[in-house]
Assembly symmetry: D2
Homo-oligomer: 341 residues x 4
């Protein structure tokens, strides 16, 4: 193994640079292997937009947010497909590719592997909704940022005797809402896996209010109240393909104020959850994933992705890894709901 | 001077508790003077909702966000007026009152003083738009929180080659935008004091893009582009009297994307700017203001507010202090604009 | 089950209050069970220093550092022993006890259980050196605080071309050094499980220096260089039973400066690692442990402690849990050492 | 004015990079003036170790700690002196020099100006002890970092009923101790400007203890108790010219424990106070100073340094600026001491 490629695809996620650094250092130091970086995900591979990644180019980047390689949502399979990727491999003399990305990227990696190309995946989603790994890097940073922001909202709620609503990320799964809500001591956590009626939410709010608390509601962007046709547009449905500002947080603000008579304010935390410095937890996890991805490549474990299981990093077949979203299980939701009172 | 009242009125602001603590400790230790706290601002004084504030009740509160006394927007002059306030003074045996609040509270304090009541004001606005004081407490915390959030947005912008727009607070003045924008290295800072056209904003954005940067725009909520009738509703104009989510940030997101062709994303930082722990700067400033307010009371300087001038805390006549908003002066804006390039 | 006791013993650790809150809320809401808190660990139980813990007493405490119950190092077995504890149970009408503490407390819990008393343990050590649980709460916060501090040291090292040494906690095991060192990108991580010579450390330092870097060394307090009789006193060995300031950090400062000729500075991070707000990760873990401890009590699982296994919280027999320190395994050290270059 | 030089000298200080960025951008954009950077302070000028500083080289650096130019303690006057500096000016075609540094650098700048060279100073000291400016950049960051660390120590003190001692920087003046101590709510603040006896310190400690508090003492490194020949070595006096670990914090730990019988722990915050990201306050102040330094050069105000006065940045003659240390005035100390109780 003499040369590997590496690319980062899909949404920004704290820790991506630590994966790159871990891979490049392990490659050079342990395996004597050089790295080429492709810019803006698969686009760089398809369009031969490539930069060498010697050791000094990854100095000190593990604490930097974002990705030094840039990213895009280009899908390699729909842009000329496997042949162009194969040509990219050949042109750059690659023995294999480390692809850091979400479900789309991992599915593409699987397809490429089935066509004989050598790819290792590194799962990346702040939403933590990928099966086969206990946690994805970036999730801890998103939860920490959301929790700090919600801590701030709480003091305003208490001073003004308001109900505060915080809308956090979570397109399919409520992991960020569950963890940030539990960490911040929310009086209601609303996630798509466990729909409840607005009446139930209002009841939780009034219960907290009745105990003299300023009610705090944490809601995942994809939550829909039972019996409501979504009259709001969740992330991604805007004319321009941009996040709607008038999502579920806004709906709750209006409805809860009407239903409870309490002054209610929503804040949409938005992009601050996915940018910025990773937590130490994510830096360690991401660094280990980067190292493990190169080890997997060196061991010829193509067609796997590296995953966290307990405290170990292990390669997992992409076949097994894909397919099912990891949703918040009922018992985890009920555990958190204990605290709603 | 044996007993003083204290109340906090208007919007939440980091540092309020440090003012309360500074006043109570200085009162008890230096002047042998006890404190009564009124709950939820003037409402507590009008409705006799009052709590004693012995020394131990203010333990460790200077780092806590919000206000332990609660707040409201009750205006004492429009709720039965001066006579009810006077009755409240008498009922509680007050020698004077420390009123912590914004322009409305300080104007009420002036009116009450003109009717013979003894009041000292402590200016409170995160917007920093009050004349007669170099800075108001809470402003530094708001700028720090906004800057950290904008730092996070920047990494997303750079990874995705997007234009990022951050909407910050500032109902009348652009101080938070000016400072947070300068601290975060924004490519355009938009404040109500200095209207520019959307074409100018787009030109700044394209200039940054042309230099290979991910354009970063920081906008105060009250900014209106030149030649635009505001088609958006700034803070406070909603049917429910709540902040609009679809304000200037949203407008810029749509317009800049159309005008520049760059993917553009807006984030409305909202309430996280006014909650949570104060910075050390604000804790020191607020503590000093609390001590100085009691000193002013002990010296019979009724009808003044305490203000920061350079590194000194001085009493300033409320007549002088009120009347003019402190806007961002032209030279400060031009100084920052140097960096837009 | 109508009434449980709860106590916190041993060193301060971020997340203790979240355990207390989780237990009290789960007890009251799910099991209809009241809580008594004993002050300063086992001392409160032996001396009947006890406070009721109704729901409102644990409001908002999960983000507060330290423990609202106080702590001490009192050992119940050496202070009159099992009989006094049994009397304490009877006097307070306890159905069982939740004991939050380190190895000493868990060993005491096991002994008490073997004598017929009903105790559930919650493991607490920032050192993360307890077997039978993937992570202990408090560890993530300690690593985060240490990492942020080391990030600060790095900039000084780079500006002055110095070698910076950071001494972190770790009495028996090098977990904090391993994780904080990996997160901060250290050029050498020194842990007691993997002794190396000073020559090796100096070689790593010179290697980093040779690549134009400011060398960064992270050392666990209990590390002893191979071939060195410890001429320094690790944590706890001072005349007063206090942490020595002149520990391994200081030794490295002197020796590395002499051996490499590079200006070298050591910082002993000390107590800042164990105080202050827990991270969101620790708040979630600690809350879940508190809930699970009460569930274990309700299910009569006396003599167990609650532990993290992957993403699950499970009860583990104290017999199994105690006995072996969880040291950093060789493969984890080698994984990190890849990055030393 | 076509070309300016810039250098950074003396100890690391958060905000230095923001000064560099502000100067380079203002130079290029406003004045059409290029910049040369000298590496490691005056050494780079004397030894012609120089790098061009085009605009893109200062991208995004204002939030980075340390200095991209490196620093040293080289004194230009004692290394061949004015003639070598003059030669450096000529060789690089400099119209003038921006020198960012502490008292030594500013004194050198004054001497160089008196010999006909064109220099503008930018004052830099985290100690805030320089006259003629209200605050120096870096000070706010140091106070914020120290305050956060002391907040952490407090929770340990409260949990263990200990007296906690935090030793902060301050070689001549107690500004960091004063501000961080006030922000953290210390029960005693000890600064060199206001010596007190150990008996007085112990009395403050016992007074806090008597009120049920965990005593918190913040001490500047240069504080000496009245009547004590310093048996400890303050910063800088070590054999190797390095900070002593066994300074005043250590002395207080031992003495207070003996005098009060309370378990006492000292933490020396050390270098973490001067590294890492600047606060927003310092980024704004430093950026403005950088811009103002170039303006001063463009206006031919050689021999001045730029200073903060109220909210304005003004040039001040170096003659006036130097000479007297800015110590904590008696009234500021007494104001803080009110809170000791």
């Amino acid at each position: 193994m003499r040369r590997l490629g590496i690319l980062t695809s899909g949404g920004d996620c704290p820790g991506v640079n630590a994966v790159i650094r871990g891979a490049v250092l392990a490659g050079e130091i342990v395996h004597g292997c050089g790295f080429m970086g492709f810019r803006d995900g698969w686009r760089g591979l398809l369009e031969q937009d490539v930069v060498p990644l010697p050791r000094h180019s990854v100095r000190g980047i593990s604490r930097r947010g974002g990705t030094i390689l840039g990213t895009s949502r280009t899908n390699p399979l729909s842009h000329g497909g496997v042949d162009r990727v194969r040509a990219g491999f050949r042109r750059n003399g690659l023995d294999g590719l480390i692809a850091i990305g979400g479900e789309g990227t991992l599915a593409a990696a699987r397809e490429l592997c089935s066509q004989g190309l050598q790819v290792i995946g590194v799962p990346k989603t702040i939403d933590n909704d990928l099966g086969a790994t206990d946690y994805t890097f970036g999730f801890d940073s998103a939860v920490q940022t959301a929790t700090e922001a919600i801590d701030r909202l709480r003091t305003t709620g208490e001073s003004h005797h308001r109900c505060m609503v915080a809308e956090v990320m979570g397109r399919n799964a409520g992991w960020i809402a569950l963890h940030a809500g539990m960490a911040a001591g929310a009086h209601a956590i609303l996630i798509p896996e466990h729909p409840v009626t607005l009446d139930q939410v209002a009841a939780w709010v009034m219960s907290a209010h009745g105990r003299g608390r300023a009610p705090l509601v944490v809601v995942a962007e994809a939550f829909t109240p039972t019996g409501q046709a979504a009259p709001y547009a969740p992330r991604g449905l805007d004319t321009f393909g941009r996040p709607r500002l008038g999502g579920i947080g806004r709906l709750l603000e209006e409805e809860l104020q009407l239903m409870t008579g309490l002054e209610t304010r929503a804040t949409v935390l938005g992009h601050i959850q996915r940018g910025g410095e990773p937590t130490a937890y994510d830096r360690v996890l991401a660094t280990r994933l980067g190292i493990a991805a190169v080890d997997a490549a060196a061991n010829g474990r193509w067609g796997t992705m590296v995953a966290l299981r307990g405290t170990d990093i292990v390669p997992v077949g992409l076949e097994e890894a894909l397919g099912t979203l990891k949703l918040v299980p009922e018992e985890r939701y009920l555990e958190a709901a204990v605290l709603f009172g």
